[in-house]
Symmetry: C2
Subunit: 377 residues, 2 copies
């Protein structure tokens, strides 16, 4: 058993300290252990309330931590504390990262390139289908799909990732001694076989409503971005999307018919600036180049560092010969004036113009002002 984990767990049980207070304390002393070893005067120098300093000085939380560590082992859970190398790097960057995560499964999955896929617990058939398909497509490109194990969209997202033999992470709003909802027990087991089921809540914590918004910040915090598939007006998914924005993560949304209540949320997010998604590429193309390079098929990409070319190659497979000719005449690093493209491609002018429109519609190229064209990736 990791000895350090005890001190981290201890601090998470000090009443009145809170996650932010704990990080302040650790910032001051360098580690939870050092905080517990400090004198009362030193503790009071941290700027935290006197009562809290007194608690830490009297080793508050350490007994609970000891029990908790035993229980975690029995519950087949690893503890991943903030100081450990296995702590997910993106989660580390949020304003209030959990001190300790309880994890069942492969904790390495937590450090993969994650994308959250969340949405309504009462979705339409359309929502279920789309969540599953997009999660599968994204997991096939080795993205780790994070979600909340809830009924509806969350479950579909986990299933989609598993279908692709990809990894997926379920973040629970209750302690790891149970699965919520209970009907997802089998699903949780499958998830833990390749990915992980995690929680920041101590064992024995029930799935009470106030836990879910707290849990949601972890779903988005683990992830490069959050994709919302169906969400009604005051849905928790919209809260997750807002948290994602506050955490500087991308927000993506799948649009839907404006006559469907479940599409209100995603459509609203798109109005507010979320990126509309109707295929997996819409998501991947927003990621930083170094992430894209690791996601897209390797080979050429890893050899010469030309990730952009690899991406192009992937898209090109679906092009007609004419589209390929025009696409190849375009550049990634410089927009070309339409006349230059016309001169470069041995096809009738009208056809080249038509193909340029097709490529633009397929999101492979972009038209810039003044009839200039550039490859999009």
């Amino acid at each position: 058993m990791d000895n350090d984990a005890g001190y981290w767990l201890g601090l998470s049980h000090v009443e009145g300290l809170g996650v932010r207070g704990a990080h302040k304390l650790i910032g001051h002393f360098g580690s939870p252990k050092a905080a517990y070893m400090a004198s009362l005067t030193e503790l009071e120098g941290s700027g935290l309330p006197a009562a809290v300093c007194q608690s830490v000085f009297t080793q508050a939380g350490m007994k609970e931590a000891e029990k908790e560590m035993e229980a975690a082992t029995k519950a087949d859970c690893q503890l991943v504390h903030f100081g450990s190398a296995e702590y997910p790097p993106l989660l580390r960057q949020i304003a209030d990262p959990p001190l300790v995560l309880y994890a069942r499964g492969d904790v390495q999955a937590l450090s993969g390139h994650c994308l959250a896929v969340v949405g309504s617990r009462r979705p339409s058939a359309y929502g279920l289908q789309v969540a599953r398909r997009l999660a599968r497509d994204l997991a096939e490109r080795s993205l780790v799909i994070t979600s909340g194990l809830a009924r509806g969209i969350d479950s579909s997202a986990h299933h989609g990732a598993l279908e692709a033999k990809g990894k997926t992470i379920a973040v629970q709003g209750r302690g790891m001694d149970g699965i919520y909802p209970a009907e997802n027990k089998k699903l949780a087991e499958k998830i833990a076989e390749s990915g992980a089921v995690i929680s920041e809540f101590p064992l024995g914590t029930g799935p009470t409503p106030e836990n879910f918004p707290i849990r949601n910040r972890i779903i988005s915090g683990l992830s490069l971005g959050v994709l919302v598939v169906e969400a009604s007006e005051y849905s928790g998914s919209l809260i997750t999307a807002r948290l994602a924005t506050e955490q500087n993560r991308e927000v993506f949304a799948v649009p839907g018919n404006i006559t469907t209540a479940q599409s209100f949320g995603p459509n609203h997010l798109i109005k507010q600036g979320a990126k509309l998604v109707d295929q997996w590429m819409d998501i991947v193309e927003e990621f930083p180049p170094e992430v894209r390079m690791q996601l897209l098929p390797s080979g050429k990409a890893s050899d010469d560092g030309q990730g952009v070319e690899a991406a192009g190659a992937l898209f090109e497979q679906s092009l007609t010969p004419e589209q390929k000719k025009v696409f190849e005449a375009l550049r990634v690093d410089e927009a070309l004036f339409v006349d230059t493209v016309l001169a470069a491609v041995p096809l009738p002018q009208a056809q080249v113009l038509q193909v340029l429109l097709e490529l633009e519609m397929s999101d492979l190229i972009r038209q810039l002002p003044g009839k200039n064209f550039i490859r999009k990736l």
Copy 2:
């Protein structure tokens, strides 16, 4: 019969001149009549090709114009030429405004605040319903709905405007001696009773495919913006949307399920920056304040020039008492910090925060960085 119209019509019949050439010529001489009266030397000074100058000098087009004017009268059409006060002001601003419009109905409608509603000729039931509803809602706020009289979305848009007893304009891709498609003859008659059916094509021009893109620039050119409701991948509606962008008009689109082919177009447009629309307000709020003031219910607005307040009043009708309290605590001209709002509203803190979220979801207020809130209109 307007005597000037003859010269404008004449120029539109000069071979090799074209709309842009004609405007260049008129720019040089001040009017079509002056161009026809000019000497050959003077004409050649305009910089147009010698053959074209020769044509104008020999009064080319004037005979056709005379016949055309008689035929227009017989066909119950007015001629609205570029020099006339009835020429639609927004259309005047595009790069290649038609020299003459043939119009049946009320030519004043052409100068109203127009919005184009266009889309697929093979829409889904959803598309038909939404086009009709949005056109009706917008026409109720006295927007003039412009469209192309085509089957599908266009027809639904015209019908929706008529249902609201509003005005609508059909822009034809053929001469005004017929209606295309023929099944819309009755619809065209109804449109002309309060709005107008128009065309720039001479009488006798058939509905050939190449006319439609040319016609589309008038649909967008008349309008403050273009709303696309369903459009498949290579649809004419997407061309209209592109023309709208080139004409500096707003592009709006109704999203739809990503599994529906007809929603590909609007979803694609939204990805490219078109504004997602799920209610009429989404459109109106993008218009300049002076336009909004004329559209929204008069009374207060026209009395004190506070169009913004009138808009607020309109939205407020649908608010709960709590929402109203919070909404009224906010300002239109200054964002308030959340603590200021909490202090100003005599409700529990949690409730105020919940109501702020509700108002934001309803698009009535906006949250600015740093927990500041402002009324949206």
